[in-house]
């Protein structure tokens, strides 16, 4: 038997094999399932960690991850934290105010699920919006993320002070009705948001890949989370959302996420096609 010639560069096939082994190992040892994440961005995030740790192969990272839970914890942050901002896509929040809020007013009680809420910027954005629309007292926001650490961060309501100028502009463009600075005080560590904004928010750890539905909702927000999933996993999560929405419930996706590539297109009608707000119709 002859062995194939050793590749002269880091071959794509070996790389993929190593990444698949790493993800399988993480799943079997720690229960986190990244096996159906979109490959290109996952690979980028992995290599960032590999280089930052002074390693040169995926296998070297695997050895560390499997033998050291702290390395896993850090990698979980690398792979699962989604960078976000308050009122990211102001036009979405404006559309939500103008088109979704009137529908929600007709309900005695409104349950929202913010899936993949990360560090909470968009949870606060929505709480403020509902407060200004007079809906917050009869609303409850279930804010979930795979990652306990980001939830802890979200609960503090502290965000970098240097971002407030940017957020204020977005708040205004999103149709904000007051002065944005009413909602926070500038502290030593950053902008500390009024935590009474969280009085109707329930934070909970939830894994979209492996966990089930836990209630029926009138609104599900999942923006720029599923872009990290491959098509098959996106489809599965769409199934989870579909079965978690009440009839005529609303599904809000990121502005460049299309329901067209899933098996659920005909279960929804667009409430705002540009801003990707859909209404369950069957």
């Amino acid at each position: 038997m002859t062995l194939p010639d050793a590749p002269t560069t880091y071959g794509a096939e070996v790389e993929r094999l190593e990444i698949e082994l790493l993800l399988e190992g993480i799943y079997r040892h720690y229960g986190f399932d990244f096996r159906s994440y979109a490959y290109a961005s996952l690979k980028r995030r992995l290599w960032k960690r590999i280089h930052a740790d002074g390693l040169s192969t995926v296998s070297a990272l695997q050895e560390r991850v499997l033998h050291d839970a702290q390395v896993m914890e850090r990698l979980l942050l690398d792979l699962s934290v989604n960078v976000t901002a308050m009122y990211r896509d102001p036009t979405f929040y404006r559309a939500f105010r103008e088109k979704a809020v009137p529908l929600l007013r007709t309900y005695p009680f409104v349950r929202l699920w913010h899936a993949g809420c990360s560090t909470g910027e968009e949870v606060f954005s929505m709480a403020i919006l509902l407060e200004e629309e007079g809906l917050y007292e009869r609303a409850r926001i279930y804010a979930t993320d795979i990652n306990e650490l980001v939830l802890r961060q979200a609960k503090t309501g502290i965000f970098p002070l240097e971002k407030m100028q940017d957020y204020t502009q977005s708040y205004v463009r999103a149709g904000g009705k007051r002065s944005f600075s009413e909602y926070y005080t500038a502290g030593y560590d950053g902008a500390i948001f009024n935590t009474s904004l969280l009085r109707n928010v329930v934070f909970a750890q939830h894994n979209l890949v492996t966990d089930r539905s836990f209630a029926e909702f009138n609104v599900i927000l999942c923006r720029n989370v599923m872009i990290y999933f491959d098509r098959e996993l996106q489809n599965r999560v769409h199934g989870l959302f579909y079965s978690s929405l009440s009839n005529f419930g609303l599904l809000a996706l990121g502005s460049k996420e299309s329901i067209r590539f899933t098996g659920y297109e005909d279960r929804y009608e667009p409430l705002d096609a540009t801003e990707k707000i859909y209404r369950r119709i069957g």
């Binding site: 490959y39 290109a40 961005s41 980028r44 720029n224 502005s255 460049k256």
Partner: protein
């Protein structure tokens, strides 16, 4: 024929260069074209400005959109655009790279990995060095590189950086790039005619 992909990066001064480039492609062009143009996250007009001069349909990419030949794809503002194994695009909101989102390197590197010798990278005018590393990767994986002749660039920093990183790139004056791209057929190599090397 297997599909092939041309990826283009442009920054400062890019609008005029991109318009000239897409205007030179006809509807029977057998490739797909993906563009990263650095711009502010509010910028929405670019797609229309390119469509105005293009015979090919120009769209901003939706996540997991399939890559089809004869199409011009534009990275949406405030997202990275990546190429998944040969068939479709994906988007990410990972942190900016070299202060840019979308980043040219992110597109180029993922295109190099997914398309190998069927990827062609084009670096146009700009005031930073984004794209140089990605263009290097495209060539290392067997693909082809085109760089706008810095003398014809509104801002020469970016093509100069790309040229330093990829000395074997075909350096062409802006006016010659559409013709060069129009001759591309899959992985077939197009001679660098009218270039600086």
């Amino acid at each position: 024929m297997e599909p092939a992909l041309v990826v283009v990066g442009a920054s400062a001064g890019g609008l005029r260069a991109l318009q000239l480039l897409v205007a030179g492609l006809s509807t029977d062009w057998p490739m797909a074209l993906a563009i990263v143009q650095h711009r502010s996250r509010e910028s929405q007009a670019l797609c229309e400005l390119l469509q105005d001069v293009s015979a090919l349909p120009v769209t901003e990419v939706n996540d997991k959109e399939e890559i089809a030949v004869g199409q011009v794809y534009l990275a949406p503002p405030d997202y990275h655009l990546l190429v998944e194994d040969e068939h479709f695009f994906s988007l990410s909101v990972d942190a900016p790279e070299r202060w840019s989102r979308p980043s040219i390197d992110v597109l180029f590197e993922s295109a190099a990995d997914a398309f190998g010798d069927r990827a062609v990278g084009v670096v146009l005018t700009g005031a930073n060095s984004d794209g140089a590393g990605g263009l290097r990767r495209i060539v290392d994986q067997g693909g082809q590189a085109v760089v706008q002749d810095p003398a014809t660039a509104e801002v020469r920093v970016m093509p100069e950086a790309a040229r330093r990183a990829v000395p074997e790139a075909c350096v062409l004056p802006l006016e010659a790039i559409p013709g060069h791209l129009a001759n591309l057929r899959g992985r077939n190599r197009v001679p660098c005619v009218g270039g600086l090397r």
